[in-house]
Symmetry: D2
């Protein structure tokens, strides 16, 4: 599932950033696992499952452990998927993580980062390890258990997870059965 030889450093080639005041480099996130959600605003699968997944990753892990970044890699309908249209999209979909515009190419309909790392299309999920190396480059739908396992193993890889004394993930106080389950 993961790259055996995680040698290659990953770099973004970006023309514009939203939701951040800084022009980020991947090296800014040294020590974190970085998950990059590659999308196009008019791609149906990006909206229906890629976007909820990106939001879910942002909510499921501590900000100190995992950084989510959106990458708008436009390879079709360039005239209508402009940065200005993307800005309206980010507003309407309430995205709060940093979103980068993949740099348009002079010579290709594919933008620069997409071309450099040979993304299969959109949505694509990239996972970058704590040392900035590309470890997963996955096009299409993805199993959340498997993606969670990849993130969990990368977090464990160098520095074991911080653990709580408590072993419950969330508090659930119920009595009797309801649609979620039956409590004692």
């Amino acid at each position: 599932m993961l790259n055996n030889i995680p040698g290659r450093q990953f770099n973004l080639n970006v023309s514009h950033w939203f939701n951040t005041e800084k022009e980020h480099q991947i090296s800014d996130f040294e020590g974190k696992v970085v998950v990059i959600y590659v999308f196009q605003m008019l791609c149906p699968g990006c909206i229906s499952h890629g976007l909820p997944l990106a939001k879910n990753i942002q909510q499921s892990f501590r900000a100190d452990d995992v950084q989510v970044i959106g990458l708008h890699s436009v390879f079709e309908h360039h005239d209508v998927m402009t940065p200005k249209a993307l800005q309206a999209f980010i507003h309407e979909y309430r995205l709060t993580f940093p979103v980068a515009v993949d740099k348009p190419s002079q010579h290709s309909h594919l933008p620069e980062t997409m071309k450099a790392y040979q993304f299969g299309g959109t949505p694509t999920i990239l996972v970058i390890d704590q040392h900035g190396r590309l470890r997963l480059n996955h096009f299409g739908t993805i199993n959340e258990l498997q993606l969670g396992a990849i993130i969990g193993s990368l977090l464990e890889e160098n520095e074991p997870l911080q653990r709580n004394e408590n072993n419950s993930i969330e508090d659930t106080s119920q009595s009797g059965c309801d649609e979620n389950g039956c409590s004692i």
Copy 2:
């Protein structure tokens, strides 16, 4: 999320097994992460989300890495949630992983394993590490990304994941956009 001091060995106290010819001990699965799905056949939340999750875990990981076990911990309606009824349930729901009946208690409405480890109710998900120690005891719904991360970190803990040269999780060959995404 996980137990900081994973000292306690986990043991099942079982009166009957289905889908296996062997009376299992947790020690049979040394070297694997064991996920135990604790349920009751008449518990709505067990059917609607616990069961699909248990099947998904079974399908998402290699059988050499992760072992799924069902544990029928009956604490109500004992007269109708019998082993015979459970057998019909296992048949109708097409369960293929081993399913154990938590041993009924002489002195309590709670069965023995449930009582010993203080499960909060059903469904409960237990995660046992490669050395047979209980690391997660979670009652109610659970986030798949977080559960995947726990399993991934436990797999990495002692023995890093086997990795493929290839970094794609599944093959997706598409051209143009469809409901899953847009390929180049």
Copy 3:
């Protein structure tokens, strides 16, 4: 979709009722459309989509217009899908509409009502018109728009729908966009 010649009166052949003090006849519901949800408590499809549909019908129409009835038509695992087990099921799944036990046959594994009207299996949805005639006998999943249209046309058939002055179905007070939509 509907029977062209809706001649046949429908009758239940029942051994036991739950959630009602009366031994109902279909003629008790003269003037209402009656929807009968035929199920078995250990039938996976009955739980996953038949049951939510039955509850949805109960909530979507006025009690004066549409009556929902459950019919437990057991044709397998007779020894464990007993009235006592059904009672626990009704309690756990919070069913509030009347539920009838289809009368077991002396000579067949099929119960009497199921045999008489040749249900295809479970779940089956039956729709009875305002005069007690069987108009739909549908086995398996069903499209809610189409089922709604059948119920709507039967309600209109004899006595046009009571209409409100107001044409909104539910109040929605929002400002700006949220996940449900964008208000002015």
Copy 4:
């Protein structure tokens, strides 16, 4: 649910049509029930539930009975939700029903049809009866059973539904239980 006094004729005020060679008037659909799905291409709720509903209506009823029309009523982000962007959207989302652009107003951010009929926002569902009169004007999510009932009652209103001899909605040939149900 429906207008008691269905007096008002409905008219579209449109600047451009897609997926049709004709500049339609509602009167073109005399004898059919017309369902109009009012949306904006950057409205999240329009994409997540309005659009699947519009496609479902198109597939659930005969083209001779029910006509689905999309109406792009832009009241925000006018500079990026242009007809050209809408054309790309229609292509990517594989819409095959006629889509009209609600005519922009000179004096308001609300387009003309939206303003004339006081739509609450997007998505809105309009239902027009067989004589061109507006019968439902509903903003936000909508219950499919209830919407189906409205369509069914309007189809029945003037001209009873064509009925088949057969009372099954779709063929389902199964043996034993599967996730959809249990057949005899």
